[in-house]
């Protein structure tokens, strides 16, 4: 079968800094694929290149047969994405954010209300649908981002740290929903996470990335064999030499930083 995602020797430089360094991998249609690696490894940068937000410095990316860099419009019809960081309109209500997304993705009008209700109920925000997003907590915004991302059913779904900062129960609920989409609609899932247990439980294949390079890939079993370890956590440690860092803290700090700089700009 032709791979639905293929990344061939892709490099991305920001100035002198190489964030992604000659990465190659493929994902088969209908597969659940996890991309694991420490903070700053190049996971998000890779996803941004696959989703037309960033142009690679060199190399080739293909999505469902389309050259991502050259056929951006065709590529954009193939995927959905939940970003790692905020992408909601804070000044609109939860419902309006969902509605806008439905129009952007041309979701069948008859399906829209039903799907918005189903997903907002899934993430426990239905009661708050008329509230302006600005008034939401971080966790609520995260849940809304995911609900919005799952509204249309593309061939490929990118989930960049989708469950970051959510409680175990919500995470379970969401993964069950995503697995169901994967099975019912053969939707290909490409996700990153720093909960290794999550990757182990959900992903059919895993790639480890560190300092912009893929250091190993395969099924959980294969990775354990390759590294001579007993579980994914040990394999990860051996391959990247790092503990799984608590990204919740890093990212909360990042958000605060960004907020400060925005407020500073606003005051001017």
């Amino acid at each position: 079968m032709n791979p639905i995602i293929s990344v061939n020797n892709v490099t991305k430089k920001f100035g002198d800094f190489t964030a992604v360094d000659g990465v190659s991998f493929t994902v088969q249609p209908g597969e659940i694929f996890a991309f694991l690696g420490p903070n700053g490894a190049g996971k998000s940068t890779t996803i941004k290149m696959l989703t037309t937000l960033l142009k690679p410095t060199s190399g080739e990316l293909r999505l469902a047969g389309h050259d991502v860099t050259k056929e951006q419009d065709a590529t954009r019809k193939m995927f959905g994405i939940v970003f790692q960081d905020a992408s909601l309109d804070d000044e609109l209500t939860a419902f309006e954010n969902m509605q806008l997304h439905a129009v952007l993705y041309g979701i069948n009008r008859k399906q829209v209300s039903g799907r918005i209700e189903e997903l907002l109920k899934l993430v426990d925000l239905w009661e708050r649908r008329k509230a302006i997003v600005k008034t939401f907590s971080g966790g609520m915004k995260r849940r809304l981002e995911i609900a919005r991302g799952l509204m249309h059913h593309p061939k490929i779904m990118f989930l960049d740290e989708p469950t970051l900062g959510l409680d175990a129960q919500t995470r379970n609920l969401l993964w069950n929903y995503i697995k169901e989409l994967n099975q019912k609609e053969q939707m290909t899932i490409f996700f990153t996470t720093h909960y290794l247990g999550e990757a182990e439980a959900v992903a059919q294949r895993i790639a480890f990335i560190d300092h912009g390079k893929i250091v190993a890939s395969g099924t959980t079993e294969e990775l354990k064999q390759q590294t001579g370890t007993n579980n994914l956590e040990e394999a990860y440690l051996k391959l990247t030499g790092t503990q799984v860092r608590d990204e919740t803290l890093d990212s909360a700090e990042g958000n605060r930083e960004r907020f400060r700089s925005i407020m500073k700009n606003k005051q001017r």
Partner: protein, 248 residues
């Protein structure tokens, strides 16, 4: 619902929910109008040119439209910083539609502000010479607004922080306004000044609105129209080209 409509609606909703923007949108030009209009009226009348308030209202309307349209570029930077831009950029719709929907929203807001100002001016004693020409004035306001919005979209696409954006704004827009025919008649100023104002597209917008509202023109309405149209086309091309290049 179409993509253009929903993005237009988004701008309108955001605007209608931000009380401070609505108020600031016409307080500032109102202050200009009162200070300049009443402050300089007697001087202006002494030189035998009639009412300065009549003369200056088109200029202030242009100023309102210029600055509220420029705000739209700030919106793009906002959307970058808050992340919403990514949501639109990965969507399976052409960037042209994304830009157009939002730009039309911005233009609508600018026009509303221009019209509010016109009403305030009317209350203060401003009278258009012929009401039939008022819709034509509004068409020119729309053209000016779309031109500035396209320009600001181009700048907003390249620039990433608000300070740089404000700097561009200050170094370009403010001189363009003051060196146009907005605040003084072009006949009777030194030649250098006249030349500068004559190569400044803002002068033509002012001139067109002045012609349609108070029947005074320096360049002639057709010249105004073609200069403004040319400017609009160039800036639209610039803005949409830049907008297509955005990486997030």
């Amino acid at each position: 619902m179409s993509v253009i409509y929903i993005l237009w609606l988004r701008q309108i909703k955001r605007f209608s929910r931000s009380g401070i923007r609505i108020v600031m949108g016409f307080v500032q030009p109102l202050v200009y109008m009162l200070a300049l209009g009443y402050g300089l009226n007697s001087v202006f009348q002494l030189s035998g040119r009639g009412s300065y308030i009549q003369f200056i209202v088109p200029g202030i309307i242009v100023q309102t439209i210029m600055f509220s349209s420029m705000f739209w570029g700030a919106n793009i930077i906002w959307d970058k910083q808050f992340g919403f831009l990514k949501e639109t950029l990965v969507a399976p719709v052409s960037r042209m539609k994304i830009m157009l929907g939002s730009a039309l929203g911005g233009a609508t807001i600018s026009l509303i502000q221009g019209i509010i100002l016109f009403i305030v001016a009317f209350v203060l004693g401003f009278r258009p010479y012929n009401w039939n020409y008022v819709p034509i004035a509004i068409v020119f306001m729309g053209m000016l607004s779309m031109a500035i919005i396209s320009f600001s979209a181009g700048i907003g696409a390249v620039v990433n922080d608000m300070q740089a954006f404000v700097a561009v704004n200050n170094f370009l827009l403010i001189p363009l306004f003051f060196l146009s025919s907005a605040l003084f008649p072009l006949d009777g100023v030194p030649t250098a000044m006249k030349i500068i104002a004559s190569v400044n597209p803002i002068s033509y917008a002012v001139d067109a609105i002045r012609m349609t509202l108070i029947h005074q023109s320096h360049f002639g309405l057709w010249n105004d129209f073609f200069v403004l149209l040319g400017t609009l086309i160039v800036l639209l091309a610039f803005g949409s080209y830049r907008f297509k290049q955005i990486q997030a």
